[in-house]
Amino acid sequence: MTPLIVLDAKACPLPLDNVDTDQLIPARFMKRPRGDGYGQFLLHDLRQDAASPARLLDQDAFKGCEILIAGRNFGCGSSREAAVYALADFGFRCVIASGFGDIFASNAVKNGVLPALVSAEQAEALLADDSIRQGAPIRIDLPGQHIRIGNHSIDFAIDPVWKTQLLNGWDDIDMTVSYAGAIARFNQSDALARPWAQPDRSPAQ
């Protein structure tokens, strides 16, 4: 996973609440292996709709944008990590929103995408910002937790654990394997404490 520290990039506004993961990638595109690339399916159906703000993604002004700005409860719904694959493969490294679905946020971090949490008012202000709408780049400073737009800046929130992971590009599995001894000791005492917890494969009486 590539570490993320400071990001200078264009930010595409998506002035919608409750953008669920079914919108981020409709289920019918999830049969393919990741290697095929998921970027083309990002917000697929919304981008077909002439009236949808998601059309901005296809405008020249936002070519190469790496930051997405949305309203509340972004990424709610299905646990499909493919929603993050679609964002990441499209080129996004950061989503700014006033709320995130829990599973989505965790999936995002595991793929090096920063879920930057701001207040509802701040999200509205960013969505309405003229310079952003014209494609001027903004700066995401992860160590300082700031978003810099022109000459003013706002703070964002991120879980400290996720912050460390993003800054270092860490992978959980390697870390967990280092706890093998503790896991084995847990198993020994747990087998005594909760003997019923195993599936019983003997035939029913």
Binding site: P15, D20, N73, I103, V161, D172, I173, T176, A182, P195
Partner: protein
Amino acid sequence: MTERAGSLSSRPKTLIDKIWDAHVIVDREDGQSLLWVDRHLLHEGSFHAFDQLAKRQARLHRPDLTFGIADHYVPTRNRNAMQPEIKRMVDQLTDNCARHDVTLFGLDDPRQGIVHVTIPAQGLTLPGNIMVCGDSHTSTHGAFGAYAFGIGASEVAHVMMTQTIWQKRPKAMRVTVEGALPEGTGAKDIALHLIASIGADGAQGHAIEYAGSTIRALSMEGRLTLCNLSIEAGARLGLIAPDDTTFACLRGKPFAPKGDAFEAAVQAWHSLRSDPQAEFDREVTIDASALAPTLTWGTTPEQALPISASTPDPATIQDAARARTISDALDYMGLKPNQRLDSIAIDRVFIGSCTNSRIEDLRSAAAVLEGKRATVPGLVSPGSAAVKQQAEAEGLDRIFTAAGLEWVEAGCSMCVGMNGDLVPAGERCASTTNRNFKGRQGPGSRTHLMSPAMVAAAALTGHLTDVRTLAKVSHR
């Protein structure tokens, strides 16, 4: 890091705390804990995680605690003539499970069904278990007092390789429901009412414990429906303290403890309840006696209202963002402001999904349809092959087919349309499922979520209908 040797504190604990504490292997200073996972459930969509495993040339750590099931992509008819793409999804799961010695409830297995229907019915969901699955509705299993939550593909790969997961302790929310449910209402109405009141993100970062007399009186089926929908309120999970209803349901189930071991387990499970003085981060109360049949009108489960209501009018909403959201939803749904919900005509119905496809759900829909004809087409997909068999033994299939609805095999079906069961673009479907998102049941589809009885009522009249008025008519 600190390794845990049992908590010494005598602070009163919630049920959520008790299960959490029993599973902590390591507490890290940054607030993350490494938890032991008792059950890991896989389905066709788990191929991303199997691919990650293959990339690392790793083995699945505990095949004995891992169960695979074919549900998301399985055809509900003509299983012998599968589309090649769908067949590949199902075959991939079969191959991966075989390669890693995982027990699979595959296409031809009499136990096949939707993961959240079959697994509890097999006695694999036990009180006090931690369970995970790469599916957000894993919260369903909380009905048995299990701590069960959905995870993404990277986490699935992590659990495959270590049988553990890193988590931050969630905040605890108690939803207390008191009073008798009025005629025509049930668990689905409690859930939709809750989501409409606290919002689709109202429980974000929280685990919910459902408590109160109404919950105690719910059947296991009702509890499964309620816990299933916790994720639609944004919660990590929802659970209910196990009681005699739970234990009676588990007794004799294939994978549950048997004989003396079962009695000993019940003894242990009795302690799985929140201590009287335990504190919750948030408390919500619901008066069940004030509930009416509730359904969604928009494109998120929080856009739910009682059947007697009308669609909202964005012109009367002060908050610009909210007004925009409402008019966008009305547009997508092809509705106007101030339209009476019971005047909205539908094109088809769907009865199924992990929310409402158990025997009790099918019975309640059949009770409304018995001896009558639906005026719109529809699909009924039981939650598992076992539920299908039982429904047929009770003659429910004949009630559905005599009403003109199609009776098909078990699977996720039209809940998500991955298997090709789709609501055509622009059509409106009264559905027992859990998500009314744009395009969820197929591109351009319009979904109204409601209980099985309410879907049956809509099937009969061809428009959204208060099931209680139908009952009155037929009694006259």
